[in-house]
């Protein structure tokens, strides 16, 4: 499941947001956190995540901070992305979450 709001392709000032449910068993623990931050680092856009649509927001490029979120299986991860490659970045992190970080 995911829904994208405020999606304005090409628009850089307005953050793109979307959410996805964590399906993998361990939630956002060490290994998924590493995968997520590695993915996020591949983009120049600012990428943040939160357990609630109104934050608090965590830098998705910081493995330490992402692990501290301790998001369990079934939690909804909200993403907020700002930057010229934001659309691709959002698609990539959502795909990773949907895919259960490759560990189902």
């Amino acid at each position: 499941m995911h829904d994208a709001h405020a999606s304005r392709p090409g628009e850089t000032a307005v953050p793109l947001t979307a959410s996805a449910v964590l399906v993998n068993k361990v939630g956002l623990h060490a290994r998924p956190s590493v995968k997520l931050t590695q993915c996020a680092k591949g983009f120049t856009a600012k990428i943040e995540l939160a357990l609630s649509a109104d934050g608090p927001w965590t830098d998705a490029k910081s493995p330490v901070k992402v692990m501290r979120v301790k998001a369990p299986q079934g939690a909804t991860l909200h993403f907020r992305v700002t930057g010229s490659d934001g659309k691709a970045a959002l698609a990539a992190v959502l795909a990773l979450v949907h895919d259960g970080f490759g560990e189902a």
């Binding site: 590493v34 931050t37 590695q38 680092k41 910081s62 330490v64 901070k65």
Partner: protein
């Protein structure tokens, strides 16, 4: 003991215990992958618990990258011996090796994660040290 295949910042793990050093390196390889030069050393020269400068120098050499090397250590002697090893490096390399103030296992994984994204040495060190921030 090592493998290196990129220009990303290298990671060196120094523990008093061979098993901890090797195990931490296994975790890095499994969680982060092989895009980061990585080497480990543990134990004294007789194979007991401890660290030795020669072993640390070898590990730094093995994980060497033009982007530099971040060293993760456990207790006391691992840190002082690592600092001594850094001082013994050729001058042009000395400035590109840092000993991180971070827990050895977690720090190694996080440092390698940061490095795998192509981050510079200062960012790799900062990220590992976020554990104590």
């Amino acid at each position: 003991m090592n493998s290196s295949n990129s220009c990303n910042v290298g990671i060196v793990i120094v523990s008093h215990s061979r098993k901890i050093a090797e195990g931490a390196a296994d975790m890095v390889r499994q969680m982060v992958g092989s895009a980061v030069p990585l080497a480990w050393t543990g134990g004294d020269i007789d194979g007991g618990l401890g660290t030795n400068v020669a072993g640390i120098l070898e590990a730094i050499e093995a994980a060497w990258s033009p982007a530099g090397v971040a060293v993760l250590v456990d207790l006391g002697g691992a840190e002082t011996n690592s600092e001594m090893a850094v001082e013994m490096l050729p001058e042009d390399r000395r400035a590109r090796v840092v000993v991180c103030n971070a827990p050895v296992v977690e720090g190694a994984v996080i440092a390698a994660t940061e490095s795998s994204g192509g981050s510079p040495l200062a960012a790799v060190k900062r990220s590992a040290e976020e554990f104590y921030a």
